[in-house]
């Protein structure tokens, strides 16, 4: 009983994070009540009391969820029902109902979380539940033995589960998205670039996506993962321009040079953006490239998804339309004299744009500009304050100031958000990009070259681009730190290695288990030559029968494995005797066999006697010699009838 209550407590524990605290408290109260009643049975409520409690439960459920449909409400319903059922255990049947209900509650956990840790936890708790069933059915319940048995049962069922997982047609309830009323905010880039938004992200170690390259990795300086484009500004924040009507002619895009092929796995996001390496050339169905060269997915961004992409770092976007030019020259107002002066000084008007950009970057580099994660707040006129007074800022400050100055110099320019860099996971050989890698850079339109990327941050803090952000240190100290991207094995501490290993396991779990959907399954099955349901049925039947057969064979012949090698040799000997017509019954001892064999084949008496003597010594006597087994094997092998 205690055992069962304990396992039920374990199974509902992770739900504490999902279901309303009031309902969880109600459940815990019922569980505690039941627990106390183990020692004080008279405290158990009678039929009427249970009925009242049920009414209370229904009331609470309705007040918290207003329905019984949907993921949260359904889960709460099961949990409350489980708690109520606990109070009316009259016989073994009720225990069964409770255990089965607990299994269902365990399953609902996967509606919230699909991580490998949760899977292991649920598997563990299922083991405890199975043990509960075992103790219910054994005369002398022993906890340890029951746990052992349930572990054995789970291990035996794993191959079958694996076969069914791989072969059984996947039911596509698209990751329960229709049940997904999850509204908890995910952090990430948004449609507006607020002054502090990227700095906020830079403290988040949350994974955004993982990339596995088919070939070589691009050099760190080319790892720009393109996100939203910010073109409209009011001087403080920058907003993305309207995308509608911008499905502009993609044939203008000209790619030259090598392409990188890679698989990109997006973690759940708020926006349906896919951060491709600049500039994506090929992308699968379900993705489209909008006029801002950003990839948009039509899947639910709240799901983890995997994409096959190709990108080329060398590209030419061609010309721009008048609207686009106007949009990218937009200024929040008339620039101040200081700014105009600066632009003039940097030979902005009417010098060539390239020259001006070069001078501007030089200006950032030579003047006393700093890169900092926590700049002083610049509430009004942030760009001017930054340019002329503070001179310390984060990538978004540099990018916006850069774009602003370019626009003053009448060069179409815009800010691009996204991620830069990423950390290489040595174990899995993939790149992990986190929120802390969020970055903002600039794009300027140059005649004949199209949109060209400029990263003013690289001018101030080239190590940001070359080495990437050291997330851990940054979070620990709140200041910007950079780490070398290629760490050699010696400097990698075991802790880091352990984390990389874990990330790699997690990546593969996501990739092969969670993302194994209908499409992937079809592709996989086709590679096995299964293209219709009849064939699939045969495969299923054969695999299940095969696994079941092996298990049955092992279960029904338990003592075959732990057999004495001497006995095996002796069996061969008996088989040889049987071939010669000397009958050996199961109930015959070795001496009986030897006497009979000697009687029938006096010519072999000596060999039979020697084999029997050594076998008896090996199997029944205490004075066995080390060489006996070898001798026995040799004798049996050379025994001819």
């Amino acid at each position: 009983m205690l055992f069962m209550l304990g396992s039920i407590g374990l199974i509902t524990l992770p739900h504490a994070w999902h279901i309303p605290p009031l309902l969880f408290g109600f459940f815990m109260l019922l569980l505690l009540w039941r627990l106390l009643s183990v020692w004080q049975p008279r405290y158990l409520p009678n039929r009427f009391g249970v009925f009242l409690l049920m009414l209370l439960g229904i009331g609470l459920l309705y007040s918290q969820q207003h329905s019984v449909f949907g993921r949260d409400a359904g889960t709460s319903l099961f949990v409350v029902a489980l708690g109520l059922k606990l109070l009316e255990i009259h016989g073994r049947r009720d225990v069964y109902v409770i255990v089965y209900l607990a299994f269902i509650v365990a399953v609902t956990q996967f509606l919230y979380e699909e991580s490998i840790l949760m899977a292991l936890y649920i598997l563990l708790v299922c083991g405890v539940l199975l043990a509960t069933l075992i103790t219910q059915n054994s005369q002398a319940p022993r906890t340890l033995a029951a746990l052992k048995t349930s572990a054995a049962i789970i291990l035996q069922s794993l191959p079958l589960a694996l076969v069914l997982f791989v072969l059984f047609p996947r039911l596509e309830a698209p990751h329960w998205s229709w049940l997904d009323d999850d509204t908890h905010a995910k952090s990430g880039l948004s449609n507006t670039l607020e002054p502090g938004s990227i700095a906020e992200l830079s403290l988040s170690p949350e994974l955004v996506f993982r990339v596995k390259f088919a070939g070589d990795l691009p050099p760190p300086a080319q790892r720009y993962w393109r996100g939203p484009v910010y073109a409209t500004t009011d001087g403080v924040s920058w907003r993305a321009p309207p995308v509608l009507g911008r499905e502009n002619n993609p044939d203008q895009l000209v790619f030259t040079g090598a392409t990188y092929d890679y698989t990109l796995m997006m973690e759940p996001q708020k926006q349906n953006w896919v951060f491709a390496l600049e500039m994506p050339t090929q992308f699968g169905a379900g993705l489209r490239r909008n006029g801002l060269y950003q990839l948009i997915t039509n899947k639910n961004p709240g799901d983890r998804a995997e994409y096959q992409l190709s990108s080329s770092p060398v590209y030419n976007t061609g010309g721009i339309s008048k609207t686009e030019r106007r949009e990218n020259l937009q200024l929040p107002g008339k620039p101040s004299d200081r700014v105009v002066e600066l632009v003039k000084q940097l030979q902005g008007q009417p010098a060539r744009p390239e020259m001006f950009i070069g001078n501007l970057l030089q200006h950032f580099r030579q003047e006393n500009f700093h890169y900092t994660l926590s700049p002083d707040p610049m509430p009004d006129q942030p760009i001017e304050t930054f340019l002329f007074e503070r001179r310390a800022g984060f990538c978004s400050h540099y990018a916006t100031a850069f774009v602003y100055l370019l626009r003053v110099a009448e060069i179409p320019a815009r800010v691009v958000g996204g991620y830069q860099g990423g950390q290489i996971n040595d174990v899995g050989g993939f790149l992990e990009v986190r929120q802390a890698d969020a970055h903002a850079w600039a794009e300027a339109w140059l005649e004949g070259r199209g949109w060209v990327r400029f990263d003013p941050t690289a001018a101030i803090a080239p190590e940001r681009i070359e080495r990437g952000v050291n997330v851990d240190l940054q979070i620990a100290s709140g200041a910007v730190n950079f780490s070398a991207i290629q760490l050699d094995a010696k400097t990698l501490s075991w802790l880091q290695r352990g984390r990389q290993l874990w990330q790699s396991v997690d990546y593969n779990w996501q990739r092969w288990i969670i993302n194994y959907d209908t499409v992937n399954q079809r592709a996989f099955l086709q590679s096995l030559g299964i293209d219709n349901f009849v064939k699939l049925g045969y495969w299923l039947l054969i695999s299940v029968a095969g696994v079941g057969g092996v298990l049955a064979w092992r279960l029904l012949r338990p003592n075959l494995r732990r057999q004495d090698p001497a006995l095996m040799s002796y069996r061969q000997f008996c088989a040889k005797l049987s071939k010669a017509g000397i009958k050996v019954d199961v109930g015959d001892g070795p001496q009986t066999v030897a006497e009979r064999a000697k009687g029938l084949r006096p010519d072999l008496a000596e060999a039979i006697e020697r084999i029997t003597a050594i076998y008896i010594r090996l199997r029944y006597q205490s004075d066995t010699e080390a060489s006996d087994l070898q001798v026995l094997k040799k004798l049996v092998a050379s025994f001819r009838v």
Partner: protein, 301 residues
Amino acid sequence: MDLALDRLLAAANQVILGKQQQIRLAVCCLLARGHLLIEDIPGVGKTTLSHTLARLFGLEYQRIQFTSDILPADIVGSSVFDAHQQLFSFHPGPIFKQMILADEINRATPKAQSALLEAMEERQVTVEGRTYPLPQPFFVIATQNPAHQIGTFPLPESQVDRFLMRIELGYPSRQAERELLSGQPRHVLIDELPVALLPEQLADLQQAADQVYVSPALLDYLQAILAFSRQSTDFASGLSPRAGLGLLAAAKAWALIDKRQAVLPEDLQAVLPAVAGHRLNVGANDSAAIVAPILKHVPVL
């Protein structure tokens, strides 16, 4: 010491003709510290065998002839009023001997039977609140007639279980019978028998039997036999753990008589009818037939 055992067996075979196997079993039973029940029709030599064994083992022995009017006091003894000393004093009965030959035990009433059987199990006697220990070693060799004979009180299962072995003698073979008919009277031969084993030698032999090696493989076989007897539908009830212990002790003694230091499956098979027969089926008297399914179906290998 082995020689002494050989001499003992040879001498016994001189008296009881053509029953080597039964004599060996009887000796084996005593080496395994068990009580022996000999069952057969009258006149085939039950009493002769028990007397022979008693003589050869050199133990002080007492024969008790069980009849339908025998009382417990006739077996264990009683308190008698001593007129000189004006008090009761205990007069030990015939049971206070190292070896008891209980003849025709199933002729006595259950009351008298249980007096003997209690003494067998506890190796002590309680009379009027006082406990008297029995001598060491203490053996009972009981004989009984088959249950279907007139005027018998069959021993219940629980009491039959106290005997380590039950053996049957059966009619002698033609040649053995010829020798018997032409030879000397048996009681003369018994009187002439020398003592073959000294008491310390018997103790040594019993200890040696205890130390015979039993391998895990043999225990597997023994357990398989026990499990089979419990699962099989051939038997009303399976072999008890006490029966298992008895089987092992008897098999060890059998191996010792065979001059081996380890028990073989054949030893178990040899003692199985005698040890298990009367426990699996009290009524029947063909032990070999009773245990035949076990020997046939329980795999040795």
